[in-house]
């Protein structure tokens, strides 16, 4: 077994990271964590996580940006909010997972073939195009982009859905697509403006 040095140096931390989390919506209470672990105990997925939610909170608070953003934990969160309602310090853990996911996508540090960030992205694309999401098309698209091998395993389910009339191959769409796009583009413009201001 190869020996690995476990010590962490302060230079490895990003002191701005915790500040950033605290400044985002939902991150406000990050620093109040007492590390009781009830979030991990309540989490139905913590048994698959590389870091339990409690550890993610502590790593984020101490500025271990790389460890946090490249963890599987944030992608395993199914947004069931079990941790959020249990947390004795009212830390919005689910929202923190969301904002960590966004940051990971922004920094491009998520695992490439990992289907969850891809799903998130495709979902967004479909909404921008049609305003609504067709589950069949979304799932098909997802498997073709990540792991088409798994798609074969899903054929049985697909046939079952066809049999019960729960599948549709036509994209559903809203009437005023322009209206929705205007809303989304206005936010893009706002963000650009903000970034420009931040630079100057």
């Amino acid at each position: 077994m190869p020996l690995e040095q476990k010590v962490k140096y302060e230079g490895d931390c990003d002191p701005e990271f915790a500040k950033w989390v605290v400044g985002e919506i939902g991150g406000e209470n990050l620093r109040h964590c007492i590390q009781c672990g009830i979030c991990s105990a309540a989490c139905p997925l913590s048994l698959y996580m590389d870091y339990t939610p409690r550890r993610i909170i502590n790593l984020a608070r101490e500025g271990f940006r790389k460890e946090v953003l490249s963890s599987f934990t944030i992608w395993l969160c199914s947004s069931c909010y079990a941790c959020r309602v249990e947390c004795p310090k009212e830390i919005h853990i689910t929202d923190i997972m969301y904002l960590l996911k966004r940051r990971a996508i922004e920094e491009g540090v998520y695992p490439r073939s990992f289907p969850i960030p891809v799903l998130a992205r495709e979902f967004g694309r479909m909404i921008f195009m049609f305003g609504r999401v067709n589950e069949t098309l979304l799932v098909t698209d997802l498997f073709l982009r990540t792991n088409w091998f798994k798609f074969l395993g899903m054929i049985g389910l697909g046939l079952n859905l066809m049999r019960t009339g729960r599948m549709s191959f036509l994209p559903d769409t809203i009437k005023r697509r322009g209206e929705l796009r205007k809303v989304l583009e206005a936010l893009d413009a706002e963000e650009k403006k903000e970034k420009k201001e931040a630079l100057s």
Binding site: Q35, G37, I38, A42, S46
Partner: protein, 665 residues
């Protein structure tokens, strides 16, 4: 409004002092600038700043200046008047100045500590200083009024705090009335088996004190009684107490308990409140063998006589002292006391508010108080640890912080749970040999010999898992878990989630204010903190005093605390009451109101406003008259007087108007 401003040349000679308070004030307020600013204000002849005005040299400086510079008024700009007003009044008196020629400016609590911009904070400090200097010119020389103090004391609550306070006062020769709501004194401590960290038996140390209360010639013990009304003021309280009927004459009953044997109910079949519902009792009962007073009582809700009117009253027949009186009525008593000690204790957190732990849903889940009764040799199982189905648990999980350190229930640490959980872990292991798991967030053992007790438990092989349990369920994932209660928790030190099957779960419930704490504090005219415990006058320097003079607090009614701290506090409260009584008199703040007879137009507007009936109307002179002994100095009448003829000392119209002008200059 009167415009009789003192003329520039007639202004009194004012001395002004501004305090740095180390760096507490000077780090946010430019003290030198304030000093300079004040020096330029009309009437100010001396203006100084100093590191610590409240220190001896600071006070000396004031006294010296008064003499040397013939100062006629004094303004000190420092901390809250609630803290040091008295200090500087005394300093003024030492310099030969009437202490009420003084005004204090609060630039610490109200400025330096709450603002972040030094320039703005300094400006605000200057406004407040200008207001005080403007107002002090109007101050009058006043004298404090002396009122005699009634030497009797009432103690409310007969737990260990009330017992200790009552005994201390009685031993000092004071007459004490101890009022307790339940049928016996003893409080929560009477429920415990052993006490941490020494593991000495609670009954062995408590019951002698209970007997001492009963036997003490200076103590009148009123159990099954509640305070209904409190009137008066420091040194002179009038208290109304309601005494509930026991249907047994207290002076006749000797506690032989023949009546209980004789009751028409052959079997005890009603939930026994004292044993947390784990045992049964009859309608005629006594809480426990050492109950004090050792007098039985009848529970009206279950007694056949009261329910149907058809009972042969075999209990009364069995009593050879003829103590039974089914016609007993509630009594109302009045008391005159000089001081009151409130020791009304706490309420244990109701675990139904944390449904995830399954209390009430799974019979294997218990509260810590229930376990106290189970491990107690005189409890319902005589100290045997048995589950509700009669089986013996092989594994027991103790969950800490139930109803503590949790924004959804109570935010505070209940302070005693870590230690009592350790005690229960030890007792359960000793009595049953079960595997015991403690689930804690942080182990808090900060008392004398507490850490050593924790160390002892570690050595006994009790499991300590650092993590807050999420849930107690009967959901089995493995064959081992079938038929068990499963606790899901992150072992935060190991870094993963564990599922631990047990037979018995103990919820270490936290301490809360009594359910009626708000009503009680209104009755006694004291305050509660946001969490609902009684508010002490100062968290460090006046921990047993309240904002109402003559009313003291002790024990867990003020905050969660353990027995040693409770007893210490009860002693402190008794000492404070003694200090008040033995002085023989109190000095009252002279902020009372009086009527300027010539200006009173006799409209009677003020008469009905006074909550203390201190204002009467002189029908001959057709003028209002204020009785300054009854006046408590709220100033409501002064604000209402349409002719401006009522003056409130220290808060006169001229003083307040000049303060407004000073701020807005």
């Amino acid at each position: 409004m009167s415009e009789n401003k003192p003329k520039q040349e007639n202004l009194p000679r004012i001395g002004f002092y501004v305090c740095h308070c180390g760096s507490n004030i000077s780090s946010m307020v430019d003290v030198a600038a304030v000093q300079k600013y004040a020096a330029g204000l009309p009437g100010v002849v001396v203006s100084r700043d100093y590191k610590y005005m409240c220190s001896d040299p600071g006070q000396e400086m004031i006294a010296k200046d008064i003499k040397e510079h013939k100062l006629e008024r004094l303004v000190v700009s420092a901390c809250s008047p609630n803290l040091h007003e008295e200090t500087f009044r005394k300093a003024a008196a030492r310099g030969g100045l009437n202490p009420f020629y003084f005004q204090m400016v609060n630039i610490r609590e109200h400025v330096a500590w709450v603002h972040t911009d030094k320039k703005a904070a300094t400006e605000k400090a200057m406004q407040l200083v200008s207001a005080a200097i403007a107002r002090v010119a109007f101050h009058q020389a006043l004298d404090k009024k002396r009122v005699p103090v009634d030497p009797n004391v009432m103690v409310v609550g007969g737990g260990i705090a009330g017992i200790h306070a009552a005994l201390t006062l009685a031993n000092a020769g004071k007459k004490v009335t101890l009022v307790e709501r339940e049928a016996t004194i003893g409080g929560h401590m009477a429920l415990f088996d052993k006490t941490f960290p020494t593991l000495d038996c609670a009954a062995c140390i408590l019951t002698p004190k209970m007997s001492a209360v009963k036997a003490h010639p200076n103590i009148t013990l009123w159990t099954y009684s509640e305070v209904e009304k409190v009137e008066g003021y420091v040194g002179n309280y009038k208290v109304t107490v309601k005494r509930k009927p026991r249907y047994v004459k207290e002076d006749l009953c000797v506690g032989c308990m023949e009546c209980i044997d004789a009751c028409v109910f052959k079997e005890a079949k009603f939930a026994d409140k004292f044993n947390q519902g784990l045992g049964k009792r009859k309608p005629v009962y006594i809480d426990f063998p050492q109950a004090t007073p050792k007098v039985v009582l009848i529970d009206k809700d279950t007694c056949l006589h009261f329910k149907t009117g058809k009972c042969k009253q075999s209990c009364a027949t069995a009593c050879d002292r003829k103590a039974f009186d089914f016609n007993q009525k509630e009594e109302t008593k009045e008391l005159q006391v000089g001081a009151i000690v409130l020791a009304t204790g706490f309420k244990a957190f109701d675990p139904a508010r944390s449904p995830q732990y399954g209390y009430g849903r799974y019979p294997g889940v218990y509260t810590a108080l229930e376990i106290e009764r189970l491990v107690n040799a005189s409890g319902p199982t005589s100290g045997e640890i048995t589950l509700r189905d009669g089986k013996h648990p092989k594994a027991v999980g103790i969950i800490h912080c139930v109803g503590s350190r949790d924004a959804k229930t109570n935010k505070w640490c209940s302070r005693v749970c870590c230690m009592y959980s350790l005690k229960l872990a030890h007792l359960i292991k000793e009595h049953s040999g079960a595997e015991v798991y403690n689930f804690y967030i942080d182990m808090r053992a900060p008392g004398k010999a507490y850490e050593e007790f924790y160390d002892k438990l570690l050595g006994e092989g009790v499991h300590f898992i650092r993590g807050r349990v999420d849930e107690v369920t009967d959901w089995a994932m493995t064959p081992d878990e079938e038929g068990k209660l499963v606790l899901r928790v992150e072992d935060t030190l190991a870094g993963f989630v564990r599922r631990i099957p047990v037979d018995m779960v103990v919820l270490s419930t936290g301490l809360e204010p009594q359910a009626d704490a708000q009503e009680v504090r209104r009755r006694f005219n004291i305050g509660c903190g946001t969490e609902g415990f009684f508010q002490e006058r100062h968290p460090k320097l006046a921990p047993v005093n309240t904002f109402t003079d003559g009313i003291y607090i002790a024990g867990a009614c003020q905050a969660p605390r353990d027995i040693p701290d409770t007893v210490a506090q009860a002693g402190a409260a008794a000492a404070e009451a003694l200090a008040l009584i033995d002085a023989g008199f109190v000095e009252l703040e002279p902020n009372t109101s009086h009527v300027i007879e010539d200006e009173c137009c006799g409209c009677k507007s003020c008469v009905p406003l006074c909550p203390y009936s201190a204002i009467t109307f002189d029908e001959v002179k057709k003028k209002a008259v204020i009785n300054e002994v009854l006046c408590k100095g709220c100033g409501v009448c002064a604000a209402a007087c349409p002719s401006g003829s009522i003056v409130q000392n220290l808060f006169d119209d001229d003083e307040i108007f000049s303060e407004i002008r000073g701020i807005l200059k």
